[in-house]
Symmetry: D2
Subunit: 330 residues, 4 copies
Amino acid sequence: MLRVAVLGAGRIGRIHAANVASSREARLVAVADPSGEAARELAARLSCEAAFDSLAVIERDDVDAVVIGTPTDTHVPLMLHAVRRGKAVLCEKPIDLDLAKADAAVEEIERLGGRVMIAFNRRFDPAARALRDAIDAGEIGEIRQVLITSRDPGLPPSGYLRHSGGIFRDMTIHDFDMARWLLGEEPVEVTATASRLVDAGLAEIGDFDTVMVQMRTASGRQCHINGCREAVYGYDQRFEIFGSAGMLLNENVRATTVRRWTRTQTDAQEPLLNFFLERYADAYRLELQAFLDAVQGGAPMPVTPRDGRQALRLADCALESALTGRAIKV
Amino acid sequence: MLRVAVLGAGRIGRIHAANVASSREARLVAVADPSGEAARELAARLSCEAAFDSLAVIERDDVDAVVIGTPTDTHVPLMLHAVRRGKAVLCEKPIDLDLAKADAAVEEIERLGGRVMIAFNRRFDPAARALRDAIDAGEIGEIRQVLITSRDPGLPPSGYLRHSGGIFRDMTIHDFDMARWLLGEEPVEVTATASRLVDAGLAEIGDFDTVMVQMRTASGRQCHINGCREAVYGYDQRFEIFGSAGMLLNENVRATTVRRWTRTQTDAQEPLLNFFLERYADAYRLELQAFLDAVQGGAPMPVTPRDGRQALRLADCALESALTGRAIKV
Amino acid sequence: MLRVAVLGAGRIGRIHAANVASSREARLVAVADPSGEAARELAARLSCEAAFDSLAVIERDDVDAVVIGTPTDTHVPLMLHAVRRGKAVLCEKPIDLDLAKADAAVEEIERLGGRVMIAFNRRFDPAARALRDAIDAGEIGEIRQVLITSRDPGLPPSGYLRHSGGIFRDMTIHDFDMARWLLGEEPVEVTATASRLVDAGLAEIGDFDTVMVQMRTASGRQCHINGCREAVYGYDQRFEIFGSAGMLLNENVRATTVRRWTRTQTDAQEPLLNFFLERYADAYRLELQAFLDAVQGGAPMPVTPRDGRQALRLADCALESALTGRAIKV
Amino acid sequence: MLRVAVLGAGRIGRIHAANVASSREARLVAVADPSGEAARELAARLSCEAAFDSLAVIERDDVDAVVIGTPTDTHVPLMLHAVRRGKAVLCEKPIDLDLAKADAAVEEIERLGGRVMIAFNRRFDPAARALRDAIDAGEIGEIRQVLITSRDPGLPPSGYLRHSGGIFRDMTIHDFDMARWLLGEEPVEVTATASRLVDAGLAEIGDFDTVMVQMRTASGRQCHINGCREAVYGYDQRFEIFGSAGMLLNENVRATTVRRWTRTQTDAQEPLLNFFLERYADAYRLELQAFLDAVQGGAPMPVTPRDGRQALRLADCALESALTGRAIKV
């Protein structure tokens, strides 16, 4: 039974904490948040201790592992603190918004032999898993093209956007990770274009809301990603993997399989699951499971700090390409 | 080049006439209708002769075959007149609303060796053909259950209904024919239930608007038919054939493959093709083709008068069952 | 926190016991099964007590409610024993295979004011719930026709079949309950046909494997049910509800939304969830939740013994109709 | 009744000739092909004259319009010859493989006031038309992203490839035209990547088989195109148009709406229509109709030589981008 503390009692920390609390293999020891109130409320609901100071919680003897769901700029110090105390870490993406700092952290973790997993939860979505399994089973032969559609239901609050690191590092970073994972090869070149079609006011903070990215690997495999901060029909998450022997599609997920026929629509499906907490609820749970399994079984981490660094690097390349109009070598 | 006359210049006669006119294997000689104006207008459009008297047209030496699309009560006399003059006949369903008269006509046609095809056009719909071919190829093994959904977009005018022979003989008769054709065995027992859920006023003419029929064959194959005179979402025509090795479904047909996603609907398909003239346009054309092929090649008629009689018999059984609440042996 | 015991440690008892164990509102006190081993194994896994004697468990002071998942012929005595001790009951269907005994039990429970819910779990399936909600919201106007498809993946073992009460009482009974629930009116007439198309050997025990049922309500609403003990493509569970203002369909559920395109198939969906334990896992969980809510909140039971009795009555009518070839008044 | 000659009796010429022959508004006067045999055979089948010399046919007094379906390098001289004789022209794409020559031809045609339509037939596909109509009706608000998938069932013969002008000018050129037409704005920047994943031997002729293209317009609208010379599951032609108020998808077209369920696949659809002659049969017919309507009604040509030139320019930009790894300004 692994003893786990969750750092951060915000939206994402609450998900992780609930998953730890209901896991048969872990015990939720404490949740920590500088906002004592958020921590206390969450701890009360999940019957664990509440804490204020994340560093102190990391140091507790009765904590074997920590899940980091704090603001991005605290990821690196908390991760390194935990690694130095020999604690296993599941850390939210991105490692850091600054590639140099991320690189330094990854190297330090590797030097110390730290047990760290980066929380690219979408790899653990059952449908994504089914895609990867079908590819591995050779169902579609050699991969030629990967297409990723990734549109959010609506713009986040401007306060969030201001510290998000920009659409590529905040939102598309998930797609960069999935692209690497599905392509089975590293992208060597990135071209991106970025527009402000939802909110022209984003120019103020130098951000964009609508993007397209094109990448290729050394062997010539190709990848397209499209993203938008707003899709009126809901949270749109689709994959298409085209290979020499076939194609795999992953359609959107809905609450039920009911279909409606009326005077104005025929065969309309249920609305999309509205956002990532609902759409990827299973993925968050299975991600934690994979983390616990790796920690307890001693197997390599399924998503490494280097994976986190690489996705960030692709995001940086995309931003540079969008700003300069040039194709960027990774 | 078969020389063909079309009898009847109404809705269905116009379809047949246009198909004859554009066929490479037939020449449209004349269209006949007691309403001289309807005949003249149609003939002018299709560059053929207009006539008033169907019997006279049948007798013309330059007419090899006739298509009968006149009111139901004229079907038998016109068919017999044509058969006695050695003309091939494609006759609209039903043969007659009265089973005894239909029986007598079928026997007379068979005695005379008449070349008559009954126009159950749905057998020639490409999707129905694909179903039949897949069954014949053994794709789903032995048939166990056939389900037919058959709903019209809206109630016909009351003038039509008054002379239609009732929903079973007028509308469901197509489904009885398809049931026989898809089951591959004769139904031996029919149970039906009939309601007035669209227009209670149909009680006045003893008709119904919403029906369900259940049938079984001697070997135990089962068939369900549902029908309704009104479906607000359009003309609903579906088949399901369930067998020991699989299942075949035939979905509705739409004008295009476009799908719509908006704030209020996701993945909604195009509206259904609105009614039988649009939905079965190909079937009418291929039906005529099959008729011409049979006449010119000397092969047996693909749909015989006996088929027409049998569908009528099932319709009568269904009506009797609905009125008496008893299962009826065919 | 309701203290619950589960009676029966077979396939269905294990589901209920696991759901009780993981519920936040209930505590699993004990599982009882005449096979001590089955009870011990399940109890060990779920950290509760194991028992041999169900009656004794019912009588325990620390048991507030019992879930009955024992063989059918014990349902009535266990239910009544529990009711007489003032315990709340969630009892698997059917109440009994004999309608007279079921009737007597229902009357006794009602006389005693017993708190009993019959486990028609499908009403709690999220898709079924969405159908019912859409109907209640008036989305499809007045209901005209309900179609239910209910096919199992394969024949159960002959030992099971011998004591199952026959396909109508064992398998179709779920569909009878759903028909009542979805129609919103009581069926007043039942016609059924039953065949042996999967295994002719079922004649030996007087059972069937392929059935169709047709029902109507007093106002003329119609219902069709089809069932088969074997569908090679998997566990097929679909609903269609056709009304004056539209139609609702409930498609099958799959493990993921992945679709496959290869040389031999295009746009093929994932296999169906194989059988009821997988397909209705959520429904079992939500059913227990509804039971706990009703018991603790004092609200009426969402599915009553009288509902259980009524489904059994329809099953009996269907069997009688299939055997006699007559329509049966309920 | 427009008198039309078809130049070229190859695959595409035969399509156009058959459509002219069966049109009610045109009369097929002659078909011309340097291979006298091909012309004679086609002419015999369609009951018109056969000719050897296209220039002579253009000059005939009884020819009002010509359809040019000859090898690409003859397009410009034949078009100009026809324009100078005052004949209307429907010319296959591309105008020429050389942009400078195409530019010169377009300018000459415009100077002469020539009536020339370039045969981008896909704009006339009913589904494409429905997309355009829905966009025009404001159904999806302002366009943000257009995605085009365009994969052929298999590599053409190497003889064809050698003179095709390369994948961008031969195959993707259709998609460039559709992109312009659907975006409603001119692309101002093109980035492309091209690989040889089907046949490495294409390096010999400097061609590619798998491509991705990314474009943006001045206002920031984005477009992605993917193409491949081989898709084992068939001819894959899809569009996705994402806008501020919704999304439109255009799925592939199939022969029928039948779906198959077996032990190994569930809900598999019919195979795709295998290649462009089948998939775009309606589009070819409607394209000719649009040409005839424009010629006879005096309206502007629905697809102009300048459209043809612009698509070629985008193809050239894509090739340059793929070869240099740079984004190209149009």
